[in-house]
Symmetry: C2
Subunit: 321 residues, 2 copies
């Protein structure tokens, strides 16, 4: 009767919040492996075994991920593999994604599949079933990819999001809906004013409404979360108020320019309500001047040092508010 069994009774959102409290780290490590981040010794070994093939790339990515996860899993509540970085390597890449998801779950990490899927009706349900639920094949049922959370694109409206909500309710899992993304051009559509309010606020209101239908049996947070970029702190402040019971997944910290001080308004008074993603800043820390002394062989230790520094940066910012 380990912790996973106890958690399994509850919704994943509660497990995630519990783990944030326990680790003191509202941090998710983005497992977005590009081959240029993978240390040469890992690439060489993988290519020696599988050749310079898709299988070789997938093996390199998987070994690289495993090293990082082994080095940081005790410090963090969650990881967020970005599926595009695996999908680019075709079927072998998708297999490396699945292997990464499974391994992180073995390490009791909450896994947020950054898949940004979104379609309508039975199609959205197929994505939801494939990533969060179980698909029926004859009299058996199977988990295709089996993440704990997935990111979802809202452009198609409720028809696109509700099938995910349905599967999440059954599986006690959750989603994060894109509201205000971290990229420079996110304002092109998201900032346009509708009745005096930017589109992201309208989407935020809708996320709040969807979330009200998706409260777990206990706890103060819905299992419909939101994505709001660290690069837009003022918008984060507003959206925090618009969506009081929403866990906000915050990308854009570190490499994209977001700093600890920008993050304080994403959090609620209870110290929860936000989880900050860093990808390159953690997984390729050894390529930064600051962590260069770890060297390639010490890439995973560099990642651990970067997680510790990030935890400290966020804690300081929260203490100063």
């Amino acid at each position: 009767m380990g912790q996973r069994l106890i958690y399994a009774e509850e919704n994943m959102i509660n497990k995630l919040n519990e783990k944030i409290k326990k680790t003191g780290a509202p941090i998710v490590v983005g497992l977005d492996p590009m081959l240029k981040y993978v240390p040469e010794f890992i690439r060489k070994q993988a290519f020696a075994e599988y050749g310079e093939t898709l299988e070789g790339a997938a093996e390199a990515v998987w070994q690289y991920n495993k090293g990082i996860v082994d080095a940081v899993y005790d410090l963090i509540p969650a990881v967020k593999p970005q599926i595009a970085m695996y999908e680019q390597f075709g079927i072998p890449g998708m297999a490396a994604f699945k292997k990464t998801v499974d391994y992180c779950k073995e390490k009791d990490l909450v896994v947020i599949g950054d898949i940004k899927r979104g379609d309508i009706g039975s199609t959205s349900e197929a994505y939801a079933v494939g990533h969060l639920g179980k698909v029926q094949v004859g009299s058996n049922s199977y988990c295709g990819f089996d993440e704990d959370f997935a990111t979802v694109n809202p452009y198609l409206g409720s028809d696109g999001v509700k099938p995910f909500m349905k599967v999440c309710k059954e599986e006690k899992k959750g989603i994060f809906v894109l509201v205000k993304t971290s990229n420079p051009s996110s304002g092109e559509f998201q900032d346009r004013l509708i009745d005096g309010k930017p589109l992201y606020e309208i989407v935020g209101e809708q996320v709040n409404a969807w979330g009200a239908e998706c409260m777990p049996e206990s706890g103060n947070y819905s299992y419909v979360g939101a994505v709001v970029g660290a690069t837009y702190p003022e918008q984060g402040k507003l959206l925090r108020k618009v969506m009081p019971h929403t866990l906000i997944l915050v990308p854009g910290y570190g490499a994209q320019g977001g700093k600890g001080a920008d993050l304080v308004h994403f959090f609620n008074e209870d110290g929860l309500g936000a989880i900050i993603n860093s990808s390159r800043g953690i997984i390729a820390a050894y390529q930064q001047e600051q962590y260069a002394h770890f060297g390639e062989k010490g890439y995973a230790d560099a990642s651990r040092a970067a997680v510790l520094a990030m935890r400290e940066d966020i804690a300081q910012a929260l203490n100063c508010r």
Copy 2:
């Protein structure tokens, strides 16, 4: 020196338009296989070989697709496999998707991957590379999934779409950007008024601007297309004017309620400018009363009959305008 070689010199958008003219059928068949559409004799055979497993489901889906493609490939310019329907079966499902894409290309069909991906910067580029381009592994390069076109979600703005445009330029391929989707709730965000214009019109204007940067060397149509649902004919009429050089991919015909007469305004005066998708209406035709006489064993012939009827319906509507 077959036709594929000659086409390969040009952009895929020209190949697609040429094939539409040659077949007289501005039709794309949506290969969106749900297990409940697959005739029992195919399911039984696949399960006998692979068990009621993900591999068994993937085999059933692939055999089902192959039968349909063999029966209709000479009538149509293009197919549109919906990746969610494969992704739900995990890795074996993704392999069935790839097999379907490859087989359709062997049959000289243009393949539109309905993947609705969209992310930012290097992540969007990874999707573009994985689905339309080539990924570099050491000194080799590989096609992950290798469709001819992909559908793209615009919510993240130019940062999400431009990496696809870049890969399309290199590979002489194309994309279709979601503008006004066919589902009932598409208006929740897409219809909201911004400076007196609905969001879908703003997105349409942007698609037109992206398209202007993406004109092939010859021909009147950009390789940045748009998705506009058949279920919204008035909006289609407006968007046709907003995006004069854009090929509009039109879902929602048939099972979703769109009729031939609704489609006329999606076309330009040259008789081109739109390609109409039907999925269930074609691939599960044998389950409809009208085609029930074909029986399960004749499912592919039923699909062929449904394509012919759809071609006739569209031709009549275009003749009457």
